[in-house]
Each structure stands twice: as structure tokens, then as C-alpha cells.
Subunit: 451 residues, 2 copies
């Protein structure tokens, strides 16, 4: 599935609001910013992802006749003018879009995407943008932690089987690779995105034979350079000894149950004693960044990790608190906008995120400022669409991945540890603070006049 043909994959209220804007003549430009309200516990930073897919979605935004007829038939739409549905028929994205780069580390309350354009267009895409960016960002952010915990050892993502459907599995593989995983098990993701594939063998392969050793022999025979033998179908050490006695020389062995620290040490020792120092030890079995950090801290001689569900669903935090908020209205009702609901306020106006560095290139702090402020720092939001025309030149995924790793290397080291509580400073500019206060007072005054 590409993102084209998904123009109806938004909440119904996006279309009812759009209909009301249209029928009431509210043809203004509006700016919406997408950001994450707060980082989950156990996430010191996030990795922006899904950006290129979201830009692709904007480029392909259009409604088929059948989609429009479906909307028109909804009981709630009975009083909506025919003009609105005609408007949808011609609708393309004609606004501006700014975003952070795919793979950029970012933090809470920093806009990662901004849409500025006709309010109907900017409104109706809310659900899809949040879902595309929020999901990929959640997965990339989790994968980055796992990759960092592995301290340079290979991490293969193989979570497709527990991903949220086939398409989510393919997309999760891309986000995981972007964040530094070395390969995926998902063949469709390999085909679609050029991600290197890896695979071992399943217990079913061993069980399909009467005899475990014959299964090992056959697999090594068909895959002389890449066979990874799974040792634990019946008993890990016995599986290994059978393999050694038979003189098999696979590329790697996989441990998938039991005490991985102890087993990896025993297996490594026996491999080395048997002249198989080049045979790698791969570990799997519900791994995540904490388990990997613990295994490596204990000195486990593991060369590569396979990580599944924990990455492909971001299991501890499967959703981010990503929101898409109106921050500015142009035209007659011009002005910056804030929401003041209890505990959920937003800062008014369009913003830029500035990243300040130390002399050695390490990043020091971020500043969220009004869009027309300027600082001697790196501006993280870049223009992607100008009046509906894409000015985005997507990089190949391998380049994105390299860049993501380089950016993470600029972060304070403590932040990349699994148990990091290293704080990072995100300042809000004085201007934004002042404008929020002003907006508060303005709304307060209006409410009091109304009362």
C-alpha cells in the first residue's frame, strides 16, 4: 500500500469540520503544528520518522468519486451544500509544509511538522499525519535505544509476526533500520525499501525432521555461507554438541531460551575449543534494550541480537502523545491561537526549533521560538512544500540511517543509555511565553465580557 488512495483514512470530524468551514465561508489559511506533548518515561529523546511518508501522503491527497459519494451519503452530511463535495473533488494540497528531517533526534513540545494552508486541507489530513508520523517515530525511537544498548553489535529487527498487521510490520522494519538496526527479517520491507535481510531457522525446521542433526546438516548444505542453526528445540547444549561432533561449520548459532548469559558463555567456549572461533553467537527471546544492556554488562559473548515485538510494537510505549494543533489563523480571523484546556495548553503561533551546540559539536540545548525570531544555531524545521509544490528531495534510506546515527553521536552520552535520566534543556523563548500570557489574558477578557 502506498499512501495514495488513503484520503478517507481520517476521523469523520475532520470532514464535518471542513464542511462547516466551507458552508460558513471560513476560507482562511491555518497553520497546524504536530508535536509530542511529553516523552514517555524510558525515552530520553525521540527519533523523527514517517516524515517522508507523510510528505508523500500530502502529494497524493485526492478523493475519488466513490469516496466523495460515500461521505455525501452519511446521515450527518444531509444539510451540507453540494458545493462542499465539489470542492473535495478538486482538492489537492496547495499549502506549505515544514518538517524536521527523517531520523532527527527531537524532544517533547518541539514541532516536528507544520502545515500552513487553506484550513480545509490543513484540517482533514490531521488523523493520517498523526498516525504516519507518530507510529514511525515511536518505532524508530524504541529501535534507537535497542541499537545503542547493543554497543555496536548487530541488531536485526524481526518483529513482523507481532506487528499491527502486515503493513505495520513493513513500516516498522523501515523505521527500525532508519534508527540503526542492521537488517530486517521482513522480506517485503527488504524488497520495498532495500533493507538487508537476515534470517535464521525456526523450531519447525528442526521438528520437521525425525532427527535434529539431519536438519542441521541439510540446512548447512543448502546455505553453506549463511546458515544459522537454532540450538534449543530440545536442549541447547546437546544441540551444540551434536553439531560439533558432526563437524558442521555454520555461520552462526542461535540461542532462543534459557539463561542467555550462561548459555552464550558455554556455547562460545565450546565453539572456540572446537576451532569454530568464526561462528557467531546470535541471541533472541523477548529481548529489549534492558535485557541487552544486562547481558553485555554481564560479559555475554553475543555477536548479534534479534529483536522482535519490543521494536515492532514499541511494546512499552506503543503510542506517543502526538498532537496536531491549530497555532495560527490567517485572513479575516487572523491571529495566533492557543488552547487553554486544563493541563493541555499550547503555545500560540508558528515556531522554529533551534539547536545549540558546544564547541566540540555536541548538542547542548534546544530553543523553541516564534518563527520570526532568529538565533545563531541550527534551525531544525525545514521547508518541504511551497504552495503545494514539493521542494523536498528525499535521501536514500541508507543515507538517512547514517545521518541518524551521526546525529545521535552528537548527543550527551548519558542520554543514550537504556536507563538514562540525563536531562536535556528545551527552552521556550521569552517571546512565546509572553505571547501565551497575552493570549490567555485576551481570552479571559473575552470570556468575562461574554459572562
Amino acid at each position: 500500500m502506498t499512501t495514495s488512495g488513503c484520503s478517507l483514512a481520517n476521523d469523520f470530524y475532520e470532514y464535518t469540520m471542513a464542511a462547516a468551514y466551507f458552508d460558513k465561508g471560513l476560507h482562511v489559511n491555518a497553520s497546524f503544528e504536530l508535536f509530542v506533548r511529553g516523552l514517555p518515561r524510558d525515552r530520553a529523546y525521540l527519533i523523527a520518522a514517517g516524515i517522508d511518508e507523510a510528505l508523500d501522503y500530502l502529494e497524493n491527497l485526492r478523493f475519488s468519486g466513490e469516496e466523495i459519494d460515500f461521505l455525501r451519503r452519511q446521515p450527518a452530511m444531509q444539510n451540507v451544500s453540494g458545493g462542499f463535495f465539489e470542492h473535495l473533488r478538486e482538492l489537492r494540497f496547495t499549502g506549505d509544509a515544514d518538517s524536521m528531517d527523517e531520523g532527527r533526534p527531537f524532544f517533547a513540545n518541539e514541532p516536528v511538522f507544520r502545515i500552513a494552508g487553506p484550513i480545509i486541507q490543513a484540517q482533514i489530513i490531521e488523523t493520517a499525519l498523526l498516525s504516519i508520523v507518530g507510529f514511525a517515530t515511536a518505532i524508530a525511537s524504541k529501535a534507537a535505544r535497542v541499537v545503542d544498548a547493543a554497543q555496536g553489535r548487530a541488531v536485526s529487527e524481526f518483529g513482523a509476526r507481532h506487528a499491527h498487521g502486515i503493513e505495520a510490520g513493513v513500516r516498522a522494519a523501515r523505521a527500525a533500520y532508519l534508527a540503526g538496526c542492521t537488517s530486517t527479517s521482513n522480506v517485503e520491507a527488504g524488497r520495498r525499501f532495500g533493507i538487508p535481510l537476515s534470517g535464521t531457522m525456526a523450531h519447525s525446521f528442526v521438528m520437521a525432521y525425525e532427527d535434529e542433526l539431519q536438519a542441521f546438516r541439510d540446512f548447512c548444505d543448502v546455505f553453506p555461507h549463511s546458515a544459522t542453526l537454532l540450538l534449543d528445540t530440545y536442549d541447547t547444549m546437546r544441540g551444540l554438541e551434536a553439531m560439533l561432533r558432526a563437524g558442521l561449520h555454520p555461520a552462526a548459532v542461535r540461542l532462543d531460551s534459557g539463561n542467555l548469559l550462561e548459555l552464550s558463555q558455554r556455547v562460545r567456549r565450546r565453539l572456540d575449543e572446537s576451532g569454530l572461533a568464526d561462528v557467531k553467537v546470535v541471541a533472541t527471546s523477548d529481548l529489549n534494550e534492558y535485557r541487552i544492556a544486562e547481558l553485555l554488562a554481564g560479559g555475554a559473548p553475543i555477536d548479534a541480537f534479534g529483536v522482535g515485538t519490543e521494536i515492532s510494537t514499541s511494546k512499552d510505549h506503543p503510542a506517543l502523545s502526538a498532537v496536531y494543533k491549530l497555532v495560527h489563523i490567517g485572513g479575516e480571523a487572523a491571529g495566533d491561537r492557543v488552547k487553554l484546556s486544563e493541563e493541555k495548553h499550547t503555545f500560540p503561533g508558528c515556531k522554529q526549533v533551534w539547536r545549540f551546540r558546544e564547541g566540540d559539536g555536541r548538542i547542548e540545548r534546544d530553543l523553541v521560538a516564534a518563527i520570526d525570531e532568529s538565533y545563531d544555531a541550527e534551525a531544525l524545521l525545514q521547508r518541504r512544500f511551497i504552495r503545494g509544490r514539493s521542494v523536498h528531495q528525499p535521501l536514500p534510506l541508507d543515507k538517512l540511517r547514517e545521518r541518524c546515527l551521526a546525529w545521535r553521536n552528537e548527543m550527551p552520552e548519558g542520554m543514550r543509555r537504556a536507563d538514562s535520566h540525563t536531562p536535556y534543556i528545551i527552552e521556550i523563548s521569552e517571546r512565546l511565553h509572553a505571547e501565551l500570557d497575552e493570549a490567555r489574558q485576551r481570552i479571559q477578557a473575552r470570556v468575562e465580557v461574554d459572562s
Copy 2:
């Protein structure tokens, strides 16, 4: 996206194992069973879902020339015979499939799906089947809890924005509706599956206007019979009072922040005092089954709940421990199969799940038995494919939903409470126990002979 064209969305090792089976002439029939190893804490039961989609996947299984070429180009595949790729070109699903019904409540260690057929076919589909069935089952199982907590009040699923991508959002909406949600916000899910749509308004609609009341007026004007006004953009009670003074009569009002118990009581009282007893109170804001149970226990006069992320990602348990295990091999290597890895054994052979009832129709216990045992109870696994021919007649989603609710009404009442720890008895037949012991001894003996 339909499930056709997803034949590569499986783990690479499915194809390498298939290649080894082919090149080593292991052309046997194999039976695999899909089941969930253990229920997550906070799930007293699961709802089978994704069944019809999985059957559709089987029916559409075929490889394009491009897909086969991609596989063939993989470095690991260099020693694989050309015959294997020719075999893939002609491959269709020609086996048998059995499954539980879509919407059926089930428990840990009960096979919910079985594939029996040529081992290559049965092997390669593992990843996709697990992902399709596991994901939909996780969502339906969570949604069922939320629906039950709402005690007959409407529950609208609106989690698309935090679902794992666009397609996952659409599929989650279906699973949620199957399990008893009354509507979805996801328009594409409405179009594709005929699920009723519902929607309210977002804060952005109110913020697009200089004046909250004008936003309310305009929305009621365009949607005279269905408008739901969101009260909390600036202050819930002030928003309500403005609406009352203006004499607006929306279908409902929505509370989205603050103390929902207290606010719902205050809002209900003011609506009733103002002659608006028919205006419904809708509550949203990070709701789940626990929050809903708490609100209703406190006497919150809430008519309908909107539940998003908690349902669309099954946030507390975003993945089930679903597995797909080889249980029987036919042909030369004939016999039942077990895996004995530490803490992860499987029972050998093909199975049936029998559901026993009390005199009043309530379900009493389940028995997992060997396939050729017979009991005076309901057999939950039914034939869906016979030698590649579908014998499944899918019901419309509304019928599936009714049936799912009826089946849940047969469960012991305590099991449906959010905090249920009501045990349900799942027995394993004596035959299966004996066969596991026998298989253990057989493998043990073989290992000792080998040693």
C-alpha cells in the same frame, strides 16, 4: 490494501526453510497450530479476530515474478536450486485450514487456527498469519473489555490517529466494532466495512473562530441533528453556559479534560435545568476500561464514551504471545511433533477445543483434546479450507458483532469485569498429556543414543 500482493510479507527464514525443504526433498504434509501462549495480566479472555482476513490471505497467496526474482537475488539463496523458484511461481494454497469463528471468546493454549498441507506452504505463511490474527485479536480483546465496562452505553472507537499507521487504524476499527463498539471515527473503515461513523468536533474548530460561541452556532447550523459541541477549548463550564445562553440545542456535548466525574454531573444538571434533557453527554480523554468503570461506579451521568489509543493500540498489551507451531508431520517422517525448549513446550498433534456448558447455557470449561477424541460439547475449530478450496462462508460484520456479544453473554459474569480474576477452566485431555510424556521420552531416548 487487501491481503493479496503480500506474499513476501513474511520472515526471510520462512523462505530459506522452504528452500531447504524443497532442495532436500522433504515434500511432506505438515500441520501447524496458531495459539496464544499465555493471557496477559488484565485479560481474562481473548476475542478471536482477523480470522476472515487470514482466510482471505490464504486464498490470495501467490508470488509475482518480481517477488520471486527479488528472493532469488538474495545472497543467501545462491545455492538454492532453480526448481525452488519455479515451485514458488506455481504455488497456491492447496491445504486444509481450520479455525475458530471470528468473534469467539477463547483462552490461552487453545489453537485458534490450524493449517495442514504441504510443508512449504504451511511454513511460509507463518509471519503473515500471526500478524493478521494476533493484531486483530489483541484489539478486539481490548475493545471487548472497554465495551463491557461501559455497561450498555455507546463506545465509539476513534484511535486512528495513534494507530500503527493508516492501515492498522482501519483494521483496528473493524476489530473494535466486531467486539461491540458502536461506531468508529475512521471514515475509510466505515467505507470499507460498513461500520457506522461518528464524530464530534476538534479544538481546532473552536480556535479557528475569534469567538467560541460563533463556532458553536455555525456547527449546529450545518449539523442540526448531529452536532456534538466540544466544551473545553477554554473552559468547560463557561463553554456550556455560553451555549445555553445562546439557546443552542446540539445533539450532544463533549467533555475532554478535567475531572470528568464532577464535570459530567455539573454539565448534566445544567442541561436538565435548561430543558435540554435530550442532549447527551459524551466523555473522552485517555479513557480505558478502568477509567470508565470508575466513572460509572461514581455515578457519572455519561451517555457515551469515545475511546482512542487504548483500543487502537491495545495500549497496555500491544502484542499477544501468539505462536504458530508445528504439531504433526505426515509422509515418511510421519508423527506428532513437540518442542521441548525450557519453559516453552508444545503439546503434540492436531487438536480440537471443546466447550462445555452448564444447564443454563453458560459456558463452564474448555477441553483441549487430540483431534480424534470426541466429547458431548461444542467443537470450536471448524473446517475453512479443504485441499485448497474455501468452504468458509463469511458473515456480514454486523452479524459477527451480534454473535460475539451473544457469546460473551454466555461467560461467567465476573470474567467480564475490568478487574476480573475469575478463573476459567481449560483442561488438557489425558490423551494429550500422555502423548507429550511419550514424545518427551522418545526424544530423550534419541538424544541419549546420540550422546
